[in-house]
Amino acid sequence: MRRGAAALWGTLGVLAVILLWEAYKFLGPAEGVVVGADGSTGSGVMILPRTNDRAMPHVWDMVARLFQSTSGGDTPPLIVPVVTAALTTLGIAAVGWLIGVLVGTLFGLMMQRWKLVEWGILPWIVVSQTVPLIAFAPVVNSLGLQIDRGGFPWPQWLSVAVISSYLAFFPVAVGVLRGLDAPDRIHEDLMRTYAAGYWQTLLHLRLPAAVPHLLPALRLAAANAVVGAVVAEVSIGMRGGIGRMLIQLAGQASSDPAAPWGPTFGTIALGLVAAGSVALLGLALKNYRRGEATA
């Protein structure tokens, strides 16, 4: 029954967003509300957005646009390139997620093993997330180009994956660190009485005990990897992915206002699929989450 209730609340949430959008579109002024305008075009500060069809297309128009031809003529309906681009980005984000999980796990393991490493690295890991992706993406891209020119093939999507892993590794590093420190004192004592070494304790105690901390971290990493991949595509101008498509259609929004919402929905679906895949991972590991229900 709880599953049914969850689905109901989820649907209600989506309906609420649609309702809010349409209600404001219906009630709000067509040209928005601007304060401090002196009469010249573009002056003043807009405090409420415009509600005309160009700024805020109807939700049903956005959905209908998905099934209309992409750019007139014989081109396939918009949903086809949206899905293709979304899958491309999903693949890149998955690679980014994998790199991020690998690097994050490595950092987490080292920080848990040696306190000194935690003190030395953890602040830098936190600081690393304050570097704007937009500033950092071109650096990775040009490095990739140099490696490619040096004879080692480095496709552009790999740069995007690396950039997205930069966002993905952070929750994993922190989650692994917290998770590996999660076992009870009694369990650590027990492993000591068995004269178990570091690796045995890691394998039989720390990693299994870390699973409840790890799953939310992996889910965050999946969402971050998608955001990272979309932003990276845009900032280094990679073709074929959903980020690029979003920017392209947004540029044509004045003549085709419903079109950019196609890739927007695609991005949302992408995030849901990514987070959902990790939830499946959680199902597979459900025996390792047994403590959670009772505690």
Binding site: D184, I186, L190, T193, A196, Q200, H204, P208, V211, G291
Partner: protein, 269 residues
Amino acid sequence: MSPATTTSAAAVRATGVGKVFPTKAGEVVALTGVELEVRAGEFVSLIGPSGCGKSTLLRLIADLDPASSGELSIFGKPAAQARVDQDYGIAFQQAGLLPWRTVASNIGLPLELHKVGRAERTARVAELAELVGLTEFVDRYPDQLSGGMQQRVAIARALASRPKLLLMDEPFGALDEMTREYLQSELTRIAAETEAAVVFVTHSIPEAVFLSDRVVVMSPRPGRITDVITTDFGHDRDDALRESPEYFERVTAVREALHGVKVERANER
């Protein structure tokens, strides 16, 4: 684990053992001048108010903490060596089972860590499950068991590598009285069957008297041994013992030793 060492050497021998914990407010003496010998196969309880160092002493024997002074030998070897050699099994107040492992897999954990082959492990686990009466529950997970059953799994796990010494830190402390008495009887049977020496920490006087060959009475500030009371009940301990005059006599003796004075009895007033 050669027979020579287990028969000739005492299970535990402590000579002038002390433990000091450094704290911000200065050093805290948790234990001082502990002299104790536990013979092979003997059941010894450590009893005393909290802070008397009984759990600390157990942790020293288990080499979970190092002793600050004195000498401690387990079957004639240093505590650290005995731990590496798996000469003892241990059980704590909480069962401490790994929640993601089944009962069988929890019991077999020490064997798995010490690379015991699968076939031998399965046989040993079945034997242990039988010993603690959990044969039908081997495929359950710890969260599907009652507290008493979890504690029985912990005892089976402690016995997995056939240790000749069992260390128990208030293993029945969190259980209800009924389960507690039942597990006490079970433990005397198991200790007799396995011929293991037991060092048993408790704060329950009846429990200590019922189980032990000797009750070691401890007192706090600083933690030390103040008295040792021998029970002489032999190996056969059943519920009849709990009703016998000898039993009450020993209970009184331990209580008096704990309080440091003769306790005035209602019928002697």
